[in-house]
Each structure stands twice: as C-alpha cells, then as structure tokens.
C-alpha cells in the first residue's frame, strides 16, 4: 500500500478519534455521571450478544445507504435523495409484502425487487434531469425527498393503513414475506447477508467492470471522459439508477427485516448517514461495511447512554458533522503528511 493511502487511513482514524473525544466532552458536560456514561457509550455495546446484534442490525440499512452514496460520490455526483428512496421503496414494497400470496423465498425477494425497481425509477428523475440538462442533482433530489415523503404518507394514510390499529401503521406483513432471522437470540436478519453480498457486487462493478471504469473516469474528470468517448450522460443516468436500486432495496429490506408492518411516518434519516459512511470508507464499497459498523456502534452507544442518562441520541449528528468536516479536509494534518510520505520513501 502506498504511503499516500496509509496516510489517508491514519487521517480517517484520527478523525474518528476526534469525534469520540467530542462525544466525551458532550457527555461530560451534560451527564450527571460522566465517567459512567462514557463507559456505557464505549463499552456497553460489546457487553452482550443482544447489543452486538443491535450493532449488526443497525448497520444493515447503513451499508445500503453508504453503498448508494459511494457510487454517487465516485461519479462526483452529490445526490442526497437516499432518504426519500428508502421511504417510498419501503412503502411501495410493503404492498408486495402485505397482499400477494408468494411462497417462502419468493415473497421477500419479490418485495425487494419491487423496492429496488421503485428506487431505480424514481432516481431517474433527478438522474435524467442532470444527465441531459445539467440540472443540479442535489437540489432536485432534496425536493424529491419531500415529495416522496408526501406521496408515501398519502399511500400509508389511504391505502396501506390498518384501521384496526391505533397508531398510523400499515397492515401486517405476511409471515412468509419477512426476512428470516439468521442468528437466534438477536434480531439479525437475512438482510445482513444481502447487504454484504451487495457490497461485494458493487466493488466488482466499480473496480473491475467496464461500466465501473466509465463511472470512475467520469467522476474524476467529466470532460476527459467525454473526450475519450465515454457517454457521460449515460453514465450519470446509470449511476443514479444503480444508487436508486441499492437504496430502494435497502429501504424495503429494513422494513421486512426489522419490522412487521410499514411504520415510518417521517423520513428514516439514512441519507446523510450514507454520505458520511461513504466518506469514511473513501468511497470504497468494501470499506463501507466497516464504516457502517463504526457508525452503527456509535449509534448503539448513544442509544444506551440515552437510556441511562438524559443525553439525547442526536448527539450522533454532532459527531457526524465533525467526522465529515475532518475527513474531507485535505489540509487536516497536512503538515504531517509530507513527513509520513518521505519517511516511507527513505526505507
């Protein structure tokens, strides 16, 4: 591994450490028993099988979200529509999980396929607008988020809603449509395996296939890609469709994996997480798995701290922004960068 790469990894690690330090500071200020709380934050997630299970199950949607963003970022696109896609794919996929009578393995598969298709098709709106007309994909995708929320809520309120339940939830999913539990004693479901498989596929796609090559060159220098004969508009559209499919699959998998009904009444909040995870992973699909686990660990830690003291779990958002700022700051630790690279070369 080149010194350059190893330095970037160190920088990432330092950023994560700084974030944890900030978490400490927050806990110190807010909690009545700071030391206890810090211990809970850091250590408790590892203390029991069921908590470890929580880390894994929380990581699943984060992996999907991270993969979708990694593909986007690799193409130098800043589409933040993951939130809306998760939501609408979950809503529409829920139809397939509630009513059609599919046999055991087919049922969840059908739901996932529908979710992915929904995500793919929806993403074609900001994708197409950007590919053909150069419309700012960040703004269009964020508008889509709000629009999809509205449409999804409409579906929930008017078509999916189970009138027999007091809260706003959908009908129950068919048992056969749910994803199987793979580790008894936890809530870890088959979606985890799908997520890992997805990461591997995306890795092969990005780094070994010719489409991945096109995407990477376009992301690096779109003018160069176009000049070399790469159809940049097609690439932009494909990236959106792939990211949409991944996010869509992630949305419905989260629903049929962890829930028994469609319960989201607001955007589930995986969009910005995905961006951060992609950055932590250096946009590498395999790295996304590790980054997702790290973020998941922070979340469970914050959750546990929240139960025992009064610290809101939103503290995570603060850590998130610090991580994003530090990792993407090219000049962070830049004084040490040169020394590190030179030391390596002297050997």
């Amino acid at each position: 591994m080149s010194r350059e790469r190893s330095f970037n990894m160190i920088r990432t690690a330092v950023s994560m450490l700084v974030a944890i330090l900030v978490a400490f500071v927050i806990i110190l200020i807010v909690s009545d028993q700071p030391v206890e709380s810090i211990k809970i934050f850091l250590v408790m997630p590892f203390s029991s099988g069921s908590y470890l299970g929580n880390i894994v199950e929380t990581a699943v949607p984060l992996i999907f979200s991270g993969l979708a963003m990694a593909v986007m970022f690799k193409a130098n696109l800043f589409n933040l529509g993951g939130e809306g896609i998760f939501f609408i794919a979950g809503a529409v996929g829920s139809f397939v999980a509630i009513w059609p009578k599919f046999p055991s393995v087919l049922a969840p598969l059908a739901a996932i396929v529908v979710g992915a298709l929904v995500g793919m098709v929806v993403m074609m709106v900001p994708g197409g607008l950007k590919a053909k007309y150069g419309a700012n994909e960040m703004v269009t995708s964020l508008m889509m988020n709000n629009i999809l929320l509205g449409v999804g809520l409409y579906l929930l309120n008017n078509l999916l809603r189970d009138p027999g339940m007091a809260s706003l939830v959908s009908y129950k999913y068919r048992k056969k449509a749910l994803l199987a539990n793979i580790v008894p004693g936890t809530r870890i479901h088959a979606g985890f395996l799908i997520a890992v498989l997805c990461a591997v596929l995306v890795y092969l796609f990005m780094y070994k296939s010719k489409w991945g090559y096109e995407i990477r060159m376009t992301g690096n220098n779109a003018k160069f890609a176009s000049y070399s004969g790469i159809n940049v508009a097609k690439v932009i559209l494909i990236v959106h469709m792939v990211a949409g499919a991944i996010a869509g699959a992630g949305g419905i998998i989260e629903c049929i994996g962890l829930h028994k009904r469609f319960e989201w009444t607001a955007l589930p909040g995986y969009g910005f997480d995905g961006a951060m995870i992609a950055m932590l992973a250096g946009n590498n699909p395999l790295g996304v798995i590790g980054a997702a686990f790290f973020v998941s660990y922070l979340r469970i830690g914050a959750d546990l701290v929240n139960r025992s003291s009064d610290i809101p779990t939103e503290m995570i958002a603060i850590l998130q922004s610090i991580i994003i700022l530090l990792i993407s700051a090219e000049r962070f630790l830049h004084k040490y960068r040169q020394r590190w690279i030179e030391k390596g070369e002297k050997k």
Binding site: A135, V139, M143, N146, N157, A317, I318, Q320
Partner: protein, 305 residues
C-alpha cells in the same frame, strides 16, 4: 373550483405570499452573495435552523425579541465562520462542508431543544418572544392593497431591504467588485493583492448574516416557537431560486417570490380539504419543475449556439 378562486383572489392570500416569501428572500440573497464569490453555500438550510433555534431560545432567556434576533444572527454567522474555516483553510470540499453543517444543525438543534425544553418536538413550553408586525399608517388604509402591503412582520420589510442591499453591494461597492472578481477569476484578484480567502470568508459570513435573519423570522415571526426541522427545505428552495435567478439579486428575488406563491398556495388549499399529504408537496414540486424548466431552457440555448 369556485372555492379555490374565492380563496386565491383575496387580500389575505396576497398578504400570505409576502409572508412566506420572507425567509426565501433572505436565504436566496445569502445564496447569491456566496455563489457570486465562488463559494456556494449549501448550508443555508442548516444555518437558518440554527438561527431559528437561537432566536427562540435567547429571546426566552433575555425576555427580549431583539436579543433573540441578535443571537440568531450571531449563531448563524458563527456557523458560517466554522464552514469558512473548514472549507477555505482546511480545504474541505465546499459541498461536503455544507452537508456537515446541515447535519450538525439538524441534530444539534434537537439535541439542545431537548436539553432546554425537555421536548424533542417543539419549544412551546418556553415563553420565547416574537418580533413585531408593523402597521404602516396611511398605506394600511388603502383599499385592497393596504392589507397586502401593511401589517407585515418587521423582518418582511427588512427582507426587501436585504435584496436592495445585496444588489447595491455587488454592483456598486469595492467589496462587491472584490466578491465578483474572486468568484469569476480568483487569480485576477490575487494578482492585484486581494486576499481570495479573506474575501470568500466575508462572502460566507454575509451569507450567514442573511440566514440569521431568515431563521429568526421563522421562529419569531412566522410562528412563535421552534420545532424540529422547521425550515422544511426552504434553504434548498432558495438555492434553486438562486440558480434560476442566474446569480443576480433581482432575478433571484423574483424567482423566490414565485416559490413563495407556491408555498402560499399550498397553505391555502390545505383549508379546502384536498389531501394534506399531497398538498404539502406543492412548493417542492414547483421548485423541481422550475429548476427542470430552467435547466432545459439553458441546455437548449447552449445547443443552438
């Protein structure tokens, strides 16, 4: 349909247009100032949210609306300063820096909201203050037009001034020249000794200033409390307005007004009993459509060259 017409062609409706356009005007001027200088501020949403929270909280703490406004602006500018530091000095990608600030605002405001009000939803338990509405004598009495122009929150009038201020600043003042030069060709500015980083920092701080007013209006004028994610995407709509306004203050103000109309419409038709989930998406659909049309036209124009 008749009910719809009856709803739209009233002074009340037109009054509401200006009311809802207020935060959009501030935010879009913030977008113009930073974009012209070459540092597009995509954290308008987050900065307004922070300002809204600060305005609510400090007006409660000091029992004064003015103090609330002051702190709202201060905090927004501080957020802009953080963004400027990371993006200009530490060379963080400006888009990612914006995402970080938005994330910080979104979670951070709820975090502090819970700490001070023990509620993750709204701050109604706190007696925060509101900025006054102003009834302009004489003008307020003009039939039909009067109730549309007079009686707005003081910040609505300030918003109009903000547009004029932005226009004047960019076109006529030395700072405006510097901002434009730095945004168009930073080497040109550098070659005559203008500090690019300093100028861009000023642009971001001014952008934050605008967001400060916009956010303060939301929690101290539009409504009188702070609630989670209350900016509801207005920061993003402002970006779209600025793109469509081609970085020009007056054009941007015009498109902001257009989106304000969509927002006002959305509020008005909600009372007619149309499905509220779908009605709430009107402003966003309008923005999406506006941006799409704008991009298509720009593309066609370029192609025919």
């Amino acid at each position: 349909m008749n009910a719809f017409m009856k709803l739209i062609f009233t002074s009340d409706f037109f009054y509401s247009i200006f009311r809802v356009t207020t935060p959009l005007l501030f935010a879009s001027m913030g977008a113009v100032l930073s974009d012209v200088a070459g540092v597009p501020n995509i954290a308008l949403e987050g900065m307004m949210l922070i300002a809204a929270f600060a305005g609510m909280y400090f007006s409660y703490v000091f029992n004064s609306a003015l103090m609330g406004l002051l702190f709202a602006v201060l905090f927004a500018v501080a957020a802009a300063a953080v963004m400027a530091f990371f993006t200009l000095y530490y060379k963080t990608n400006i888009i990612l820096g914006g995402i970080a600030i938005n994330s910080l605002a979104s979670g951070g405001t709820i975090f502090f909201l819970y700490l001070v009000a023990h509620d993750k939803g709204t701050s109604v338990s706190l007696a925060s203050k509101v900025l006054p509405n102003i009834n302009i004598p004489l003008i307020g009495d003009i039939p039909i037009l009067g109730p549309v122009i007079s009686g707005h929150n003081v910040l609505t009038y300030v918003a109009v001034l903000a547009v004029l201020f932005t226009w004047y600043l960019l076109k006529k003042t030395p700072l405006g020249y510097h901002l434009r030069a730095v945004g168009e060709k930073k080497e040109a500015a550098d070659s005559v000794g203008i500090s690019v980083i300093r100028t861009q920092t000023i642009a971001l701080l001014l952008s934050g200033l605008m967001c400060g007013f916009g956010g303060a209006f939301m929690s101290m004028g539009y409504v009188s409390w702070f609630s989670r994610d209350m900016i509801s995407g207005r920061g993003w709509i402002a970006l779209a307005a600025e793109a469509m306004g081609m970085q020009h203050p007056l054009g941007t103000a015009a498109t902001s007004l257009l989106f304000g109309v969509a927002d006002a419409l959305s509020n008005a038709v909600a009372t007619l009993g149309w499905p509220s989930d779908l009605v709430k998406t009107i402003p966003y659909c309008a923005t999406l459509a506006g941006l799409a049309i704008f991009s298509i036209r720009a593309y066609r124009k370029n192609k025919n060259a």
